[in-house]
């Protein structure tokens, strides 16, 4: 049905954007942008391991990203180093170990640039099944976990006091992140996955009056960015990941222009803080 590589990339990309929308909202609400980066960077270690052990690529990436997030949770509990420092260590060492392992495997030739920045030619029809199957799973999980996730984002202690399980919600959230990273890697590329989570969500903020509206809008804006980016990538022969990010950025800049009736001061109200 999708005999054209471009249509395949488009269908896959839109699927990724739809699931990245609500997840990306939580990433910015919970200030976990750098955390998402760390998980994404560890994906290259997953790529290396999948080649080394002859595992399915997405499965290997999912396992490695999930393990890294659990490792971080464990190290945070020990409390020896700040989360910032831990993320810095994990992020770059996972990426580097992956690159080193790949370099050692002289018998395989892999397109490193494709993994790092995305490659629209890489999407197969079975990938599309996985993306949309996984995407539906992610959306269902988010809908199911919405209230505990949102409540523990506002205040974990309040959520726990009133009978929710913020730790469990957090764990599921990290598994969903790992799943999205594993699925999105081929199109957006390891280095740029987090931007597909963050930029559409940040763009949606200005036009949203409730968390639910923001989550849906982030998906829509993400899908627009993917469509625009892929057309750009095809037209100018640029890597798909950066093209999508540039398109997302263009939408974000447009959202900052003083048009529409929503007040901008809501967004510029509390300037410091924000993301790492």
């Amino acid at each position: 049905m999708f005999d054209d590589f471009f249509v395949r990339a488009l269908v896959a990309g839109i699927g990724i954007a739809v699931m990245a929308g609500p997840l990306g909202c939580f990433v910015i609400w919970r200030r976990m942008a750098y955390f998402g980066d760390t998980m994404a960077h560890s994906a290259l270690l997953g790529v290396a391991l999948s080649l080394l052990l002859d595992l399915n690529l997405m499965v290997a990436v999912f396992i490695v990203a999930a393990s890294v997030s659990l490792l971080l949770l464990f190290l945070q509990r020990r409390g020896a180093l700040s989360t910032d420092a831990l993320l810095g260590i994990l992020s770059h060492s996972a990426l580097s170990i992956g690159l080193v392992i790949v370099a050692f495997m002289t018998w395989v030739r892999i397109d490193l640039v494709g993994f790092l920045f995305g490659d629209i030619l890489a999407v197969s029809e079975s990938d599309i099944d996985i993306i949309w199957g996984g995407g539906i799973l992610v959306i269902f999980a988010i809908v199911y976990l919405w209230r505990p996730l949102l409540a523990s984002t506002v205040n974990p202690e309040l959520a726990e006091a009133e009978g929710m399980k913020p730790e469990r919600a957090r764990l599921f959230f990290m598994l969903l992140m790992a799943l999205v990273i594993a699925i999105a890697m081929k199109i957006v590329g390891i280095l740029l996955i987090t931007s597909l989570l963050i930029i559409p969500a940040a763009t949606a903020r200005r036009f949203s009056s409730s968390p639910e509206i923001m989550a849906v809008l982030a998906s829509v804006i993400g899908a627009l960015a993917v469509t625009g980016g892929l057309f750009g990538s095809l037209h100018w022969d640029t890597p798909s990941g950066p093209s999508i990010v540039v398109a997302a950025l263009a939408l974000f800049v447009l959202s900052l222009l003083p048009i529409g009736r929503r007040r901008l001061e809501a967004a510029s109200h509390s300037t410091p803080g924000g993301h790492h």
Binding site: R31, A161, E162, G163, R205, S208, S210, P211, H269, S270
Partner: protein, 301 residues
């Protein structure tokens, strides 16, 4: 005074010699109290004395490292935390805040918001509220779910004096109307809500406990606070003869420093004081004068 407690009522929550330790240091130890339906318990104590820790232990957010906590099966808690900062990236109106931890009918939301006087702010984003408005919204959220136990961690912070009186009156009404138990953490060491049944003073341990002295009985306080406040506020007068230092050591009234504040360390000079009317188990040498009218804490350190 209304009394909802009857002898056969089982307490909503009971702490038995509860203690919480973090990084090898006891944040709070040996805490004992219970809250029954309709009862108001107020925790007071200086900063870092373990008030919030105790409240969180009572509702199960923190686990007791020693002793134990009994909670009534299926206990429904309404919680107003001490600090709650909502990131500006999260679009959250007051109305949406109300259903944060569970669904509510529109009528229930309206009732709670008008009870705390912030119904007109239902559509406002929480980040744009003033401190007092936000506290009222949080209180509305906690009462809207009709809890068995309402836990309020410094609910009057950021609220001006008349707002404080109004909030205390509201808390009293909520107790009288719903019969829920209330655990209140006070930011003030001496002034507590008049309706409080039990005051528990913490300083890493239970220093003393008692009932407050109603302000309304003293003409001087009536003059100082005004008639309305005088029926709402009460004084809990007490003295401590030692201060807990940040490193866990104890500074005594005579200027000496010891590792702990247990009895028999030679730094407590008023152990034979007749006014010392709390239990022998405390042994920290302070005295609590429930009938005193001193406004300022008499600290001779």
């Amino acid at each position: 005074m209304l009394n909802f407690r009857s002898p056969e009522t089982t307490p909503l929550v009971r702490l038995n010699n509860a203690g919480v330790r973090r990084n090898g240091r006891w944040l709070v130890r040996g805490v004992e109290f219970s809250i029954s339906p309709g009862e108001i318990v107020t925790l007071i104590g200086p900063n870092g004395s373990g008030k919030s820790t105790t409240a969180k232990t009572a509702i199960g957010v923190l686990k007791a490292d020693e002793g134990f906590v009994e909670r009534k099966a299926g206990l429904k808690v309404g919680y107003v935390p001490q600090k709650l900062a909502v990131d500006w990236t999260l679009p959250l109106t007051v109305e949406r805040l109300m259903t944060l931890t569970g669904p509510l009918k529109g009528r229930e939301v309206e009732e709670a918001l008008s009870a705390t006087g912030v119904l007109h702010l239902a559509k406002a984003e929480v980040q744009h509220l003033s401190g007092g408005e936000f506290q009222r919204a949080l209180l509305a959220r906690a009462i809207a779910r009709k809890p068995d136990l309402l836990v309020l961690d410094e609910p009057v912070q950021g609220v001006d004096f008349s707002g404080e009186i109004a909030l205390y009156e509201l808390i009293k009404q909520i107790r009288n109307r719903t019969g829920c138990g209330i655990l209140l953490i006070s930011h003030d060491l001496h002034i507590v809500m008049a309706e409080t049944d039990t005051v528990v003073c913490l300083n890493g341990h239970v220093c003393c406990r008692g009932t407050p002295q109603a302000v309304s009985q003293s003409p001087e306080y009536q003059k100082l606070f005004g008639r309305r406040a005088a029926s709402t506020l009460a004084v809990y007068s007490h003295n401590h003869d030692h201060t807990h230092l940040p490193d866990g050591r104890v500074l005594h009234a005579d200027g000496s420093i010891t590792e702990h504040c247990y009895p028999g360390d030679g730094h407590h000079h008023d152990e034979d004081d007749n006014v010392h009317d709390h239990g022998d188990d405390c042994g920290c040498g302070h005295h609590s004068r429930l009938h005193g009218f001193e406004l300022k804490e008499k600290r001779d350190v």
